[in-house]
């Protein structure tokens, strides 16, 4: 069973490599190096913060593009092109196919984020080497702050949640609609916390109940974003990180289960 899932996952990764998805890394590197050069000319002291902020924001954006645009096609493309007809008559269960597809994209995202993290550290190291005074100037957090990895880690879990949502839509809806719905949920997910206390602002109990239901149903993506805290050297509790990551894993497990249930019942006409 593990081998079958692994084979599907390996081929998702292989496809993304052959479709030149990882080329976005080149763009990321150019952006980072260009930005560090420009900022070096303009400001003193603040540039490390800006580079960290920019690096994390760019990683988030590039990752989101991959998660949404590859995620929504993961299953749909196979069904639409009918390649699934050859695969699903082999000794493979439909839920194994779904899990394999998810893990394949998870590996692609992991490689992406890992390379981006290395690139960000490399640019920061270069800046510190060129301008040793920076190390003293950046009082909030060290230049090569290991806590950047926490930000990357939570970003990764967040992107996996988005991927699982995209994958779930991909089992029954066209890529365009899935992309719109996933992007919509991504935006809503950042304001989800407001829904939890909706009863304080509305009088209607029905509306408050609906808001509460939405709060539990929709992904809560804001806690995964710890960019500001990391950049400004504010503390991040280990318990918070573990709880947030645990929530992410549970949410994606629910999405993959739902996707598997939908996919298992489908007729491939």
């Amino acid at each position: 069973m593990v081998r079958v899932i692994g084979l599907v996952a390996y081929h998702v990764f292989k496809e993304s490599v052959r479709d030149k998805v990882l080329y976005n890394l080149v763009l990321f590197a150019v952006l980072m190096i260009g930005a560090s050069y420009l900022l070096g000319q303009l400001t003193a002291g603040q540039d490390v913060k800006i580079i960290k902020d920019l690096g994390l924001a760019a990683s988030s954006m590039f990752g989101l593009f991959i998660a949404v645009f590859i995620g929504v096609g993961l299953v749909w493309k196979e069904v639409d092109r009918r390649s699934v007809h050859n695969l699903l008559v082999k000794p493979i269960r439909r839920h194994q196919f779904i899990i394999g597809k998810f893990l394949g994209l998870a590996v692609t995202l992991l490689v992406n984020l890992a390379v981006m993290a290395i690139a960000l550290y490399a640019v920061l190291a270069l800046m510190a080497w060129r301008e040793p005074s920076l190390v003293k100037a950046s009082v909030d957090a060290p230049v090569l702050d290991p806590r950047l990895l926490i930000a990357f880690g939570l970003l990764y879990v967040q992107l996996l949640v988005v991927t699982s949502v995209a994958l779930c839509f991909s089992t029954f809806s066209s890529p365009l609609l899935s992309a719109a719905l996933t992007a919509g949920l991504y935006v809503v997910g950042h304001f989800n916390a407001d829904l939890a206390h909706f009863e304080n602002v509305v009088a209607s109990p029905a509306a408050a109940w609906l808001a509460k239901a939405m709060y539990y149903l929709l992904p809560n993506l804001a806690p995964f974003d710890v960019k500001l805290a990391v950049v400004h050297g504010q503390p991040i509790a280990a318990g918070f990180v573990a709880l947030t990551a645990g929530y992410g894993v549970l949410y994606m497990a629910a999405m993959i289960t739902l996707a598997s249930l939908i996919f298992a019942r489908r007729d491939f006409k």
């Binding site: 081929h11 496809e15 479709d19 050859n86 019942r265």
Partner: protein, 322 residues
């Protein structure tokens, strides 16, 4: 031994968005295929052939009825290990090469390493994919994809293969290769269930055929039972024949068709002795070119069955509501 058993298998598809109504694509199909049979599943376009094959491979689920493949339900993993399937107009991952695709599928069957590579190499040789095997599949022609499709269908040395229009997209050489491959599989003990609307293929390969029209099985049986192999008459072609002499032969011939000046195709009933007719025509100045016995073909039978079924009021299409 029974390889495949289908009982009262029906499939409805919903049509319409707001008020979906069931459309019956397959209606109470029952069939029994013995081990090592080559069974031809024939029918015009849209008759329900592909629907049946998708039900057998569980790409779609039946509305009612039962399927047993090698004594097990179709979704069973053990069944999947022992069957092969070639979909109609197959599409494969176009970023992979033929070698990589077969290695991927081989992996799903538990093949790995050198054994997998050797099997893939042999199969690609067998279906006639040469140096192209290292090219991405997006560069393949339709016929080459069909060959790769055949290779993946027999990758696991299956006990039963389901082939949906295996000859489509192939040139005459390709068709000859596929026929040879099917007979080779049969000799190895494999059961073959293939759909086609090309009757000459069925005639050349099948031990039994089933004919399906409008989702309903019209007939199934051995070709020898379905077709009368007796000679129903003769076709004699004569040259330099003076048409004025034809009325003298009216009692012994059914019809004479002019092919070109002086050349006629003469159809005679089976009671007519062909050698005497030819001798008499030669005596009247004509020159003998050829004589062939006329037999009822699968095509005659097929056309007759399809026409008879279509003449009936449409049954089992859009189902009544409620």
């Amino acid at each position: 031994m029974v390889a495949l058993e289908i009982e009262q298998l029906s499939k409805d598809f919903a049509t319409g968005f707001w008020r979906p109504r069931p459309y019956r694509a397959l209606d109470a199909l029952s069939l029994r295929i013995e081990t090592n049979e080559v069974f031809g599943f024939l029918g015009p376009n849209g008759a329900g052939k592909t629907t049946t094959l998708k039900l057998l491979t569980q790409l779609i689920y039946p509305t009612s009825g039962r399927i047993s493949i090698l004594g097990r339900p179709p979704g069973d993993l053990e069944v999947r290990r022992r069957i092969g399937y070639l979909p109609e107009a197959p599409y494969f991952y176009d970023y992979l090469t033929a070698e990589e695709l077969l290695a991927y599928f081989g992996g799903l069957f538990g093949l790995r390493g050198a054994a997998c590579r050797a099997r893939v190499g042999d199969l690609l040789d067998r279906v006639g994919i040469g140096g192209e095997r290292r090219l991405p599949l997006r560069k393949y022609s339709k016929g080459m994809l069909q060959r790769v499709g055949l290779a993946q269908a027999i990758l696991n040395e299956p006990d039963i293969v389901f082939l949906d229009e295996p000859m489509s997209g192939l040139d005459p050489l390709g068709r000859r290769d596929v026929r040879a491959l099917i007979l080779e599989l049969r000799d190895r003990g494999c059961t073959i269930f293939f759909s086609s609307h090309i009757l000459s293929d069925a005639e050349a390969l099948c031990s039994r055929v089933g004919i399906i029209v409008g989702g309903q099985l019209v007939t199934a049986g051995a070709l020898s039972e379905i077709l009368a192999f007796d000679v129903s008459g003769w076709e004699i072609v004569m040259a330099e024949l003076d048409p004025a002499v034809l009325p003298d032969f009216q009692a012994r011939i059914r019809r004479a068709t002019r092919i070109s000046a002086g050349r006629y195709a003469i159809e005679a009933p089976s009671e007519t002795e062909p050698d005497r007719l030819v001798a008499d025509l030669r005596a009247r100045g004509a020159r003998f070119l050829s004589a062939n016995p006329l037999r009822s073909t699968l095509e005659d039978f097929f056309v007759q069955q399809v026409a008879a079924r279509r003449a009936q009021p449409p049954a089992g299409r859009l189902m009544p509501e409620g």
